[in-house]
Assembly symmetry: C2
Homo-oligomer: 145 residues x 2
């Protein structure tokens, strides 16, 4: 799977760990930065990630900041993105099965690396259920409907 | 505080409980529905809630669905909304202090009523820190910047 990953300064270390894990799982990973822990603004990296989902360069995205909340809001400004901020794998599973989430947001100050990997694993491996969920997901792509 | 609350069918009972708690705390609450547990689409109620935040009718919003994820995505389609999906009070606190969140999303199938109230309490009582966070929040209002 082609996966893009982006963060803010608070999550550069977690980004490196999740990037390595994804590569070990055989995925093609594009790291959109930042490369250092110098202070940046999470919306800039959220919008950057959203744009590569919207243009199809990446099939899935991983968005990281201190809480996961700010970068998730930024990603969801783009109607092509369905970003779920989660802290445990059940939510990651539901985000895929019910909401066809294409971006997962995680908080580096809220959860540890093992928990982040468990969330990411559920996000990567769970299929969308379609059926009645499809109509709702379609409405998320057309916010003015 | 003028607070609007909306859900999907999975969270009508939690909506009634949180509405009562908010009224007990002295807030003015607008319940945007639904009124029954008949199946509805969460984006419809998310957009409805976002519109009353955007036009200033409500100062804060409470968005509920089974996981909180779908309705949070819908709310965040509106650049006037900063909606945080949370499952515990620390995230609700950070959503206010760092992200100036004006809507909280909770999952009725993930957390119990007491935990939902603890999240809501943190969301209502925590002030935004401004400072370096203000520039980032401003960027969330201008997704094309």
């Amino acid at each position: 799977m082609r996966i893009a990953i982006a963060s803010d300064h608070a999550a550069v270390d977690l980004k490196a760990e999740l990037r390595e894990w994804l590569i070990e799982q055989g995925h093609e990973v594009a790291d959109l930065g930042p490369d250092t822990a110098d202070s940046v603004d999470y919306p800039d990296y959220g919008y950057k990630l959203a744009s590569v989902i919207a243009d199809g360069t990446a099939e899935r995205g991983v968005a990281l900041c201190g809480s996961g909340i700010g970068i998730a809001i930024a990603c969801n400004r783009n109607p092509a993105v369905r970003c779920a901020q989660v802290s445990e794998p059940l939510s990651a599973h539901l985000a895929r099965s019910h909401n066809d989430a294409n971006v997962i947001a995680l908080g580096s100050r809220l959860i540890g690396t093992e928990m982040a990997i468990a969330c990411l694993d559920a996000f990567i491996s769970t299929e969308f259920l379609e059926g009645r969920h499809q109509r709702r997901v379609d409405k998320l792509s057309n916010p003015n409907c």
